[in-house]
């Protein structure tokens, strides 16, 4: 049975502001689903509707097959972790973690056992008597996770739980969070604006924009086969080349780039026909650079951004269009004004 199903959910904040617009979403049992998008895209509102902190204006929220719209928050059996941890500052760590159990009428000894177990899971045993303010940010976030998990929730809801941590800690917690989730097997809905987190942790990434779902799929799918310009630009570094379809053949679609030449593309988000104006997506890291005269698109290096292990180039094509290219450096970086040939594998281009 699916852990969560949203059926045509809409949430309006006013007649003009539609935070979430007619969304369908399914979270399979045990899956890690990420709602990814810029701020204001409706991802947090969607999460809060699952939690019951927001009420949908239209549509149904189903948890484990039961309609939840009229079920108050405290009866939903969900574990939620907030961006700023939201630990009760006036309660000890023990009382924080035990909080949900206390309201589930669990016996004292059982509470003690399960709190200890939860603290072991998040690898923070022995902090029971401390207060939240005596722990570091990362430790507080682990406690918040323990507090959400100890009640054995039907769904774990994570509202940007890593964004308040500093970069190193964030990466560490990301791995750990994923490991804990996999071990416990709880269905998880994770909200983030960080594409790295989304791609690294999820079974399913849901890219949202302006209250809609732009695309939903496995991390490789949304990255490799973006369905829209928004998805392509939100995930990774993408170039968009305006082009005209010249010929559609079995080995690929050839497109005309104007003064820059032609390109063979093997993948398209939709059926296209000759003469149609389209955009071709090329990932910055999938452009190979060769000495001039080796075929491909000829270009000149218009800008060099040296990043140590990598270089970021702006390649100017005849006709003035620029392509961003990310290259890991084995030798020295290219120099400004150098002529190069850009080799783009048809498999790495996609028509939108």
């Amino acid at each position: 049975m699916n852990a969560v199903e949203l059926h045509r959910i809409t949430r309006r904040f006013s007649s003009a502001v539609v935070a979430v617009d007619n969304i369908d979403l399914t979270v399979p049992a045990g899956a890690f689903v990420t709602l990814l998008g810029p701020s204001g895209c409706g991802k947090t509102t969607t999460l809060r509707m699952i939690a019951g902190l927001e009420t949908p204006d239209e549509g149904d929220v189903m948890i484990k097959g039961n309609r939840m719209n009229e079920v108050p928050i405290h009866r939903r059996n969900l574990g939620m972790v907030f961006q700023n941890y939201a630990l009760f500052p006036h309660k000890t760590i023990y009382d924080n973690v035990a909080f949900g159990l206390k309201y589930r009428n669990v016996g004292k000894d059982e509470i003690r056992r399960r709190v200890k177990q939860a603290l072991d899971i998040v690898r923070l045993p022995g902090v029971e008597e401390r207060f939240p303010a005596q722990l570091s940010g990362g430790q507080q976030q682990r406690i918040a996770l323990a507090r959400a998990l100890v009640i054995e929730p039907d769904v774990l809801l994570l509202d940007e739980p890593l964004s308040a941590l500093d970069a190193n800690l964030r990466e560490e917690m990301r791995v750990e969070l994923k490991n804990i989730q996999r071990r416990i097997g709880v269905a998880t809905v994770f909200v983030t604006h960080d594409q790295g987190e989304a791609l690294a942790m999820s079974d399913l990434v849901v890219v949202m924009n302006k209250g809609h779902i732009e695309q939903m799929g496995a991390p490789t799918e949304v990255y490799e086969q973006p369905r829209s310009e928004f998805v392509a630009s939100f995930l990774g570094n993408a170039n968009f080349l305006p082009a005209t379809v010249r010929q559609v053949a079995s080995d690929g679609i050839s497109v005309d780039l104007g003064a820059a030449g032609a390109l063979l593309v093997s993948d398209a988000a939709r059926p296209v026909s000759p003469g149609e104006a389209v955009k071709v997506v090329v990932r910055a890291e999938k452009i190979d650079i060769a000495p001039p005269g080796n075929g491909g698109l000829s270009a000149t290096v218009a800008d060099v951004d040296y990043l140590g292990s990598m270089a970021r180039y702006q390649m100017e094509l005849p006709g003035g269009h620029r392509l961003l290219s990310l290259v890991s450096l084995k030798d020295r970086a290219l120099e400004l004004g150098q002529s190069v040939s850009l080799q783009i594998n048809p498999r790495h281009c996609r028509i939108l």
């Binding site: 928050i73 405290h74 939620m80 700023n84 500052p89 939240p132």
Partner: protein, 287 residues
């Protein structure tokens, strides 16, 4: 140029000097006065003796007055808590997008002189005042109620004066509570009421505590309200001080009474501070 380590004192000096001149010095004078001797002809003779202290301390009337003063102050404080907390909660939680306006309205009465506002209560509570006229008019009572010149009207006036102080203290406290804490409690299984009990109320205690202390001290030291709205049997300590110093020109006794009130309030504040410092810890956690 002032040396760096003295700079704070330099910057504080206007405040420190005015405090010393306007507060500390008069209190010292009062302290000295309290040991003077009052001669039979009404003259005050400089002396160092404990006669005034022993007379006042041994007179149960003064202790009764002190108890009465603290009792009325405590009652007004409790009423302010009960009336002020919901109001502050509303102010902190309403979705009205101009909260500054609401807070402005809260303090609007302060634009009118305190004495005039206190006099206004005479029109409200008097024999032919607003309340009695309405009640008589709709026939609930057939002769006017005595609402004025008793403890009731004093409490009314004090509550009216103190309420904004209570509300603003509680408001600040409630406004500083992270709403996610309440959401967290809800997702963990609390009803709205349980959430209030477990999270909101404990975290707003510092504001409630500070507001209560302020209300109590303001009430216990108040003079105008009991003077204008109190009856002949109203035993307010500030009245006794006024009687002693202004009516009987008995400065030594008045000085002892003043210090007695000051010391009692000081002890209450000190005890209270010890007790409330626990809540201050909560406040620092909440950040």
């Amino acid at each position: 140029m002032v040396r760096a380590e003295y700079r704070p004192y330099f910057l504080l000096s206007p405040a420190l000097i005015s405090l010393a001149l306007l507060l500390l010095a008069p209190v010292l004078f009062i302290f000295v006065y309290s040991f003077w001797l009052r001669a039979a002809n009404g003259q005050d003779i400089p002396a160092f003796q404990f006669g005034n202290w022993i007379t006042v301390g041994g007179d149960p009337f003064y202790w009764l007055a002190l108890r009465e003063t603290f009792k009325i102050s405590a009652i007004t404080t409790v009423i302010c808590m009960l009336v002020g907390y919901p109001t502050a909660y509303f102010l902190a939680r309403c979705r009205f997008n101009n909260k500054a306006l609401l807070l402005f309205l809260l303090f609007l009465p302060f634009w009118i002189s305190y004495i005039i506002r206190t006099f206004a209560w005479i029109n409200v509570l008097g024999k032919s005042g607003f309340v009695n006229s309405v009640l008589l008019g709709i026939g609930i009572i057939d002769k006017p109620l005595s609402l004025l010149y008793n403890d009731f009207s004093v409490i009314m006036g004090l509550v009216y004066f103190q309420l904004p102080y209570m509300i603003i203290n509680v408001y600040v406290s409630l406004d500083g509570i992270d709403r996610n804490l309440e959401s967290a409690a809800r997702t963990l299984g609390c009803t709205a009421w349980q959430t209030f009990r477990e999270v909101t109320l404990p975290l707003s205690l510092p504001g409630l505590g500070a507001g209560s202390l302020l209300c109590f001290v303001l009430a216990a030291g108040s003079f105008v309200t009991p003077r204008l709205l109190g009856g002949t049997d109203t035993l307010f300590f500030s009245q006794l001080i006024y009687e002693a110093i202004i009516s009987q020109l008995d400065w030594p006794t008045g000085s002892v009474l003043s210090l007695m009130l000051l010391l009692s309030l000081g002890i209450i504040v000190a005890v209270y501070n010890r007790f409330m410092s626990l809540s201050d810890i909560y406040r620092s956690f909440a950040k």
